[in-house]
């Protein structure tokens, strides 16, 4: 896919990631709350579901979700830093650092969950 010339820069990618992660998290949330609510039906019901999540494909999806959450957080921090602290050139480095932290969090989750 050829990226339009005027879009090929750090802050554009940061924005896309922020929007995509936000949308996916918003879709995921009701499901997340539903599963947690299974606790009302008792430990067994909840555990039944949690066992289903042991499947590798589900674990993979969970890693992605954790990365999305961390990415949305760092993207939001980028915005808040721009809007309330400063708009200097160092903000591009901040984008890169944010991306790095998200990945690190995802990896921490991955290594602890397998």
């Amino acid at each position: 896919m050829k990226i339009a010339g005027h879009r090929n820069h750090a802050h554009y990618w940061a924005f896309i990631l922020h929007r995509a992660s936000g949308l996916l998290l918003a879709i995921f949330l009701p499901a997340h709350f539903y599963v947690l609510g299974l606790a009302i039906e008792g430990e067994a019901a909840m555990d039944g579901f949690i066992r289903w999540t042991d499947a590798p494909l589900v674990k993979g999806a969970e890693v992605i979700l954790v990365i999305l959450l961390a990415a949305h957080l760092t993207g939001g921090l980028r915005l808040m830093a721009l809007e309330f602290i400063s708009t200097s050139e160092s903000s591009k480095t901040a984008v890169a650092v944010g991306a790095g932290i998200s990945l690190a969090v995802g990896l921490a989750f991955l290594f602890n969950v397998v």
């Binding site: 005027h6 879009r7 802050h11 554009y12 924005f15 915005l79 809007e83 708009t87």
Partner: protein
């Protein structure tokens, strides 16, 4: 370095097609040189705009290989890809013909954003003293070099997605006036720039900053407007 460049130029209006020309390559050639060569030597029906041709007026802005630029300040060597260059009119504005676009909407939005001076004094009053190290004057100075070339407007994705979005240039101009102590129109101005399609629609993607030929930062001005509207809303002024 080969002797000629293959140039694709947009012909037509909103619908049309790219037409191909072979243009001889010259040292220190700019994209404006190429367009001028085509119009004078190959196809006199090609329509395009320019004026100063030395990077002062902003009239020659076009999309070159996907990026909005001043063609008089774009050296062919810097943008040619595999011996080819693609030239089209500025994005986000209606096409009049070929490489000329209709700037009406761009300037209308300057008005809508109250990007115009509201005087408070008459000829009988004394001058306002505005010292160069005055902090608000310095904030205004960061944005007043804008010459309204529409490169930022063309680079902005929110302008593409929200057709009423005022855009980086109009908001930047509004910010310089917010910081002008002689101006008396801030209540209307802050209301104008915080409506449905005002400063809050900006996501700080900074395409405007990346492409502004005068190295201005409309994003910084828009962030200033966000803070100003927040304070005004808390005080009940808007």
């Amino acid at each position: 370095m080969s002797n000629s460049i293959k140039v694709s130029v947009w012909r037509g209006r909103e619908t049309g097609e790219f037409q191909s020309f072979d243009v001889p390559r010259q040292p220190s050639q700019t994209v404006l040189d190429i367009v001028t060569f085509i119009q004078r030597n190959i196809d006199p029906t090609l329509s395009y705009r320019f004026a100063c041709r030395v990077g002062m007026c902003g009239s020659c802005a076009m999309t070159v290989n996907g990026k909005p630029r001043w063609t008089c300040r774009t050296h062919v060597d810097k943008v040619v890809e595999d011996g080819e260059i693609k030239i089209s009119p500025l994005r986000n504005l209606k096409v009049v013909k070929d490489l000329t676009c209709d700037m009406t909407e761009f300037f209308d939005k300057m008005n809508k954003a109250e990007g115009k001076f509201h005087p408070t004094k008459t000829r009988n009053d004394d001058f306002d003293v505005v010292l160069p190290d005055d902090p608000t004057r310095q904030l205004a100075a960061q944005g007043i070099e804008c010459i309204g070339c529409a490169v930022c407007y063309s680079a902005c994705d929110v302008v593409e997605w929200n057709k009423d979005y005022l855009g980086p240039a109009a908001l930047n101009r509004a910010w310089t006036l917010v910081n002008d102590v002689r101006d008396g129109g801030n209540k209307e101005r802050l209301t104008a720039i915080s409506g449905d399609s005002g400063c809050h629609a900006c996501h700080s993607q900074q395409g405007c900053v990346k492409h502004c030929p005068k190295n201005l930062s409309p994003t910084r001005s828009i962030i200033g407007l966000k803070r100003a509207t927040m304070k005004a809303a808390l005080k009940g002024e808007i």
